[in-house]
């Protein structure tokens, strides 16, 4: 089977963003995932978020590892460049791309297998470098593409479709990311577009590493009874602790919020994330408390979602390196070496 092109239907009535692009322009090839797969809903949310953020498509780079989830960059923004890299190693490719060209908007899509097993080390180090990217884990508790083995995010007691019960404790990417000092950590659910789209927008606009763990049921291998990553289970134990809205730079917060306790967090480009607490015991700027809160909720079997932790204004890879503005590949060649005369002078010390 080769690439499936979507039929191009021009519909002039579709709303356009300020670049004159419709939502359609942010779409990609036709998905080849199973019907009902959570990953497809995340793709739809990404298209919405990118359109609303008015991203210039060819300045976006989409990167992924290997897995059903990692296939999805082919299904959105066909005018954006992308890399479907090797299993678990997308963070390093993103680091290199980001190092070479800091102007690119870097968007990573991965799976729980890709990120929490084979790629755990690279994920941790990308966070540690505060690489400027949004990193989405499409978390279904299994390896979809290799047919349903447990992943490291499977909960204790969760039963696989083939019958075996997971006994090993899960790795929670959210708790891990907060503990590692990640500067933006959120969790959401593929079935909650209302929550997911603003979180994606905020993650993309955050300067530094933004981790977004999105529960994304695998209808084929992990959506049965006794699974803790099914649609039914997630809906039942769904606990939005905080609601986040993304407000672009020019807009007034008041216009977006006329009621409730709102807590605006300003990002580097003047845009804001407006947080509204749903749960009283929660504070997204307090690392230790958030970790405690998440662990208590996990004991109750609750799936806590929302923007869990944010620390804007931290130095990213290039701030630390003091890199020149603009892509490194377009630095004038003359400024990269001292020429024949310089080489002669440099060699004095080797005589």
């Amino acid at each position: 089977m080769s690439f499936i092109r979507k039929p191009t239907v021009t519909n002039s009535r579709l709303p356009k963003n300020s670049l004159g692009l419709t939502r359609r322009d942010y779409e990609g090839g036709m998905s080849t995932l199973c019907a009902g797969c959570g990953h497809d809903s995340i793709t739809a949310a990404l298209i919405q978020a990118a359109w609303e953020l008015e991203l210039v498509p060819h300045q976006v780079v989409k990167l992924s590892g290997i897995g059903c989830s990692s296939k999805t960059p082919a299904y959105f923004m066909s005018q954006a460049h992308g890399v479907n890299s090797v299993h678990g190693r997308m963070p390093s490719v993103a680091t290199g791309a980001g190092a070479a060209n800091r102007d690119l908007v870097c968007l990573g899509v991965s799976g729980d297998g890709d990120s929490l097993s084979i790629g755990f080390g690279q994920l941790a180090h990308a966070m540690r470098r505060n690489l400027n990217m949004a990193y989405v884990i499409e978390n279904n508790g299994v390896y979809g593409l290799t047919k349903g083995q447990f992943s490291a995010s499977a909960d204790v007691g969760s039963r696989a479709k083939r019958g075996e019960t997971n006994v090993q404790p899960p790795i929670d990417p959210v708790v891990t990311a907060i503990a590692l000092g990640c500067t933006f950590v959120a969790r959401s659910f593929s079935g909650d577009k209302q929550q997911l789209v603003p979180l994606l927008k905020a993650a993309i606009r955050h300067r530094g590493f933004a981790l977004l763990d999105v529960l994304s049921p695998c209808v084929t291998f992990n959506d049965h009874e006794d699974s803790t990553k099914s649609y039914a289970y997630t809906r039942r134990y769904y606990h939005p602790a905080i609601h986040a809205d993304f407000v672009p730079p020019a807009q007034d917060i008041k216009a977006a919020y006329d009621h409730g306790e709102a807590m605006p967090v300003e990002l580097h480009d003047g845009s804001r994330i407006v947080l509204r607490k749903v749960d009283e015991g929660f504070d997204p700027s307090d690392r230790a408390r958030t970790i405690g809160f998440l662990q208590d909720a996990a004991k109750r079997g609750e799936v806590v979602t929302g923007l869990m932790y944010i620390q804007p204004g931290q130095d990213d890879l290039h701030d630390v390196n003091h890199t020149v503005p603009g892509p490194l590949h377009s630095q004038p060649y003359d400024g990269l070496h001292p020429g024949a005369e310089g080489l002669r002078e440099l060699q004095q010390r080797y005589r």
């Binding site: 460049h81 090797v86 390093s92 680091t95 290199g96 190092a99 070479a100 080390g121 941790a124 020429g339």
Partner: protein, 616 residues
């Protein structure tokens, strides 16, 4: 053996000939005692006297307290390999006295620290023992513990200056240059030099029959190690992204690149840096970063060694299949596994040629010395971008970390990086249907687009089966079309790689094919064999895939000795696989004990084979 008055007694062999500018000095020391700067001073003094020298460091995989040796070959004829014998041993490590003494050639000299006299134990009739109380003198002269340790090393340089007749004015000048702003260090070092010098002058008849005489053979040359020269190559090639994970013997390459960048690429006003070096969490990440950076359009590279290549293999295959121009430098060390990390070998030839799973073959470059490290590093980036594929430059610990005398590096200011077939925004704008992997020009090399340039250039780079458009496929024919084009591309590259070095004399039917750091030993071996009446032609491969010249050389010789530094004859195997050479035709000369190969290692084997042939 010293005579009663402390003067060296004329030993039988030494008396035979006084040798000028043709001997080996070896310094045995304990690592972590700062002997490197003393040895550097010694080397440079000889170099400034115009005498060809090479220095090789034999050090343990350890930070402090284990034996280490530095071997200086003084060769008026300019031979650069190990000679295979030691004429003067400077023994500063009493733990290794016995072995060090045993290593000295008959008629040689053994200089040791006689603060603790050992003359009675150090008994070899054919070696002259020179005892100098180096530690004692330095303890008396210097107050601080650290300078006492450091200065006894400098003191042996002073002693050698007297014994070998080194120009003291040059030593003085070197001290002035090295410690330019620190007059007290110049004085301290000079004092130590003088202590050694005076003691030797007073107690021994100087100079020894092995001695130095100024020449003019180092003009236009520099003394440099391969890692530094390769780093200069990366700088001049315009590499802006470097990623690495520390591993001996490649580490000093990135250290050198970093300091060059800090010197030449930091804006003096804003402090902004025109480069980005990332110390990765491991080699998988290092090469992944290079892939990402190269895909995004920067010239990017990673230096590593064998274990790193193993870890990088998955990504190397990815870059091959997705056609991303990455550059790797493999400074080879002894394997398998951790092996002997501070010893040299050429043992990654096969693993680099075919690194990764599936049908993958890679462009390899094989410099023979630091000069070629510089030139081939620049070529590596041009070739990688021209052919959109990984290029690996294979050096080794001997080239990378030892001090070589090489012709001065030169630069042509008209050089511009060859970025290969990269589409501009304007070109893409006119091209609504961009096919990333199509063979537009019939040379197997497709056109590429860089992210951020134009929406028409967008495609999804993938290691999974892809069509000429870059889209996913599981269609046999579509898959195979791309794979076959990759082979055509490799064939195009074969004709564009650095040519082998070929030296033929008369109508010899026997030849040597060799590689990289074997060069010096092969050259000397050819001279020695010629002296025995065996004329051998010589070809040194500089690149893989092998060019037509290699094929022609093989076709033109009845018998060929393939000289290399690994156990399995990897170059020979590669030649058998990739050329018309036959098994009978290619004889293997292998040296793989971790020490750099010497001419002797070659001459014995080839001489025996040829004399057997003559007898048969």
């Amino acid at each position: 053996m010293t005579s009663d008055n402390g003067m060296p007694a004329p030993s039988d062999a030494a008396a035979a000939a006084s040798r000028v500018n043709d001997f080996v000095i070896k310094i045995a020391n304990v690592n972590g005692t700062g002997s490197a700067s003393a040895n550097g001073l010694l080397m440079k003094s000889l170099f400034r006297m115009g005498i060809p020298v090479t220095g090789k460091n034999f050090f343990p995989s350890n930070i402090q307290g284990l034996p280490t040796w530095y071997e200086i070959r003084v060769s008026r004829d300019g031979y650069r390999c190990r000679s295979g014998q030691v004429d003067i041993m400077v023994a500063m490590n009493n733990e290794t006295y016995a072995d060090d003494l045993a290593e000295v050639a008959p008629g040689g000299f053994f200089l040791y620290d006689a603060t603790w006299p050992r003359d009675s134990q150090l008994s070899r009739k054919d070696v002259t023992i020179i005892g100098i109380p180096l530690a004692g003198m330095c303890n008396e002269h210097f107050d601080q513990a650290r300078s006492r340790i450091l200065m006894k090393n400098v003191a042996y340089v002073g002693a050698l200056a007297a014994l070998l007749d080194i120009d003291m004015a040059i030593i003085r000048q070197l001290l002035n240059e090295t410690f330019a702003s620190k007059a007290h260090l110049v004085d301290a070092n000079q004092a130590a030099i003088d202590l050694g010098f005076q003691y030797a002058q007073e107690h021994f008849s100087c100079p020894l029959p092995l001695r130095l005489e100024a020449m003019d053979k180092t003009a236009g040359h520099i003394m440099i190690d391969g890692n530094t020269a390769a780093a200069m190559g990366c700088l001049y090639a315009g590499a802006t992204v470097g990623a690495w994970y520390p591993i001996t013997p490649s580490t000093s390459l990135m250290d050198a690149f970093k300091s060059l960048c800090e010197r030449y690429r930091v804006d003096p006003d804003s402090g902004e840096r025109r480069f980005c070096i990332v110390q990765a969490e491991d080699e998988l990440a290092a090469v992944g970063m290079v892939v990402g950076a190269a895909w995004a359009g920067a010239r990017a590279f990673t230096p590593t060694s064998g274990p790193g290549i193993s870890l990088m293999s998955e990504f190397i295959g990815f870059a091959y299949y997705t056609e991303v121009p990455i550059v790797l430098v493999d400074v080879q060390r002894v394997g398998p596994s951790t092996g002997m990390p501070t010893r040299t070998q050429q043992c990654d030839i096969l693993s680099c040629a075919f690194a990764s799973h599936g049908d993958t073959r890679h462009i390899l470059l094989f410099p023979a010395d630091p000069h070629e490290c510089f030139e081939l590093a620049v070529a590596a980036f041009d070739l990688a971008e021209r052919f959109q594929t990984p290029v690996m430059m294979l050096t080794d610990l001997d080239i990378g970390m030892n001090d070589w005398m090489v012709p001065e590096l030169t630069w042509d200011d008209s050089y511009l990086p060859d970025r290969g077939k990269v589409l501009t925004a304007e070109e893409l704008a006119e091209m609504p249907d961009f096919h990333r992997y199509a063979d537009v020009d019939g040379d197997g090399v497709p056109w590429r687009s860089l992210p951020g340039v134009h929406p028409n250039g967008a495609y999804f780079l993938r290691g999974s089966g892809h069509t000429e458009r870059g889209t996913y496929t599981e269609n046999s024919e579509e898959y195979q079309r791309v794979l076959d084009r990759l082979e055509r591309k490799f064939e195009t590259a074969r004709h564009a790689l650095p040519a082998p070095v070929v030296e033929t004399s008369a109508d010899a039917q026997v030849g040597i094919i060799s590689i990289g750091s074997c060069d010096g030993a092969v050259r000397e071996a050819r001279d020695l064999l010629a002296g025995r009446g065996y004329a051998l032609n010589y070809l040194r491969v500089k690149a893989f895939p092998f060019s037509d010249e290699v094929e022609a050389f093989i076709a033109g010789h009845r018998r060929i000795f393939v000289v290399e530094q690994n156990r399995d004859g990897q170059l020979r195997r590669l030649l058998l696989m990739e050329t018309q050479a036959t098994r009978q035709q290619l004889n293997s000369i292998r040296h793989y004990n971790g020490m750099p190969i010497s001419a002797r290692d070659i001459v014995e084997d080839i001489g025996r084979a040829l004399s057997q042939e003559a007898a048969a």
